[in-house]
């Protein structure tokens, strides 16, 4: 184990910390100078769902230009999880049932059904 400090990596970490603080705190600290209209505030009600959908969907069906679409167990398991939620209303069923469905579908796809 070495104890030499790599200043390049420390610099990157400090800069990324600065990114976190600048983006998270700027509006909370100086927001009074940039007041928001009521319609803007209403619009922000949709931001959470939009942000989460924007993170989840590309993870389920990833693709790259010039490469064939990857279709594996993930979208199938996600569909199973949605159906589970619709039938049970339980968010824990989404996680546990979805994970089990993922392992099951992956097995089925691997054996070629």
């Amino acid at each position: 184990m070495t104890f030499a400090i790599d200043w390049y990596i420390v610099g990157a970490i400090v800069l990324l910390t600065l990114c976190s603080i600048l983006t998270r705190c700027s509006y909370l600290l100086f927001g009074d100078r940039f007041p928001l209209s009521d319609s803007m505030r209403r619009a922000f009600r949709y931001a959470p769902v939009a942000a989460l959908a924007g993170i989840v969907v590309p993870e389920l069906l990833p693709w790259q230009p010039g490469v064939a679409l990857v279709f594996d167990a993930r979208p199938l398991a996600a569909l199973a999880a949605i159906i589970l939620y619709w039938r049970t209303g339980s968010t824990l069923a989404v996680i546990i049932g979805g994970m089990v469905a993922f392992w099951g579908f992956r097995y089925l796809l691997a054996v070629g059904i």
Binding site: I9, L16, G31, L36, V94
Partner: protein, 247 residues
Amino acid sequence: MRQQERGPSRIRQIRRQAFINGARDGVVPFIAIGTWGFVIGIAMVKSGLTESMATLMTLMVYAGSAQLTALPLIASSAPLWLIFAAGMVVNIRFVMFGAALHPFFRELSWRRRLLLGVFSSDITFVLFMSRYSDARRIGTSAQLWYFFGVAIPGWAVWNVFSLVGIFMGGLVPPEWSLEFGAILALMAVILPLIKSRPMVMCLIAAGLTAWVAQPLPLRLGLAVAVVAGVLAGIFSERLAVRARGVQ
């Protein structure tokens, strides 16, 4: 001032209850945070960071997607300004979150607002706005302590599981694909929020946009998807209002 007349013990009770409500709403999202933290802990070590550097990064940066974005840049010795710029772009959503949260916390001292910002995350924003975006009174002490109830345990869960990933990640076989559990946990956060047609439209628009835009660098696709989802939500809401007006 009305609160003071109710006595300090009553205030303390309101705060404690709000904190507990936040922590309780956070249980399922905390599973997502913990899994993500664990996966990113492993990713940091795998990309070549030493355990001590990975620990420093976890404790200081507290921004999973920015860390994931920066890792390949660091591994390829990219210039520091590029790492900084990439981190800013990935974190742009936090500026929007801050703008939405600001009216609730504007009366607080700057030190407290700084603290709120540092501890805020995607999950604190999602849970807080889902609960209070239609609140008639804004800036109550219950709202502040609800925020802490989500934010502080969330911060702890993230860091503990990141450290577990850094130091013990090798013990979990990669074939388990635990990272998919984090995706499922995020889905478990979204599904209960989809209660109205505008929310459905927002979900479809954001999902489609994010899917089409995923080759964009620096997770810019995510920023575009948020804008598209918000626009679709507002548009659908206006259509519903107009349809009601015609009848």
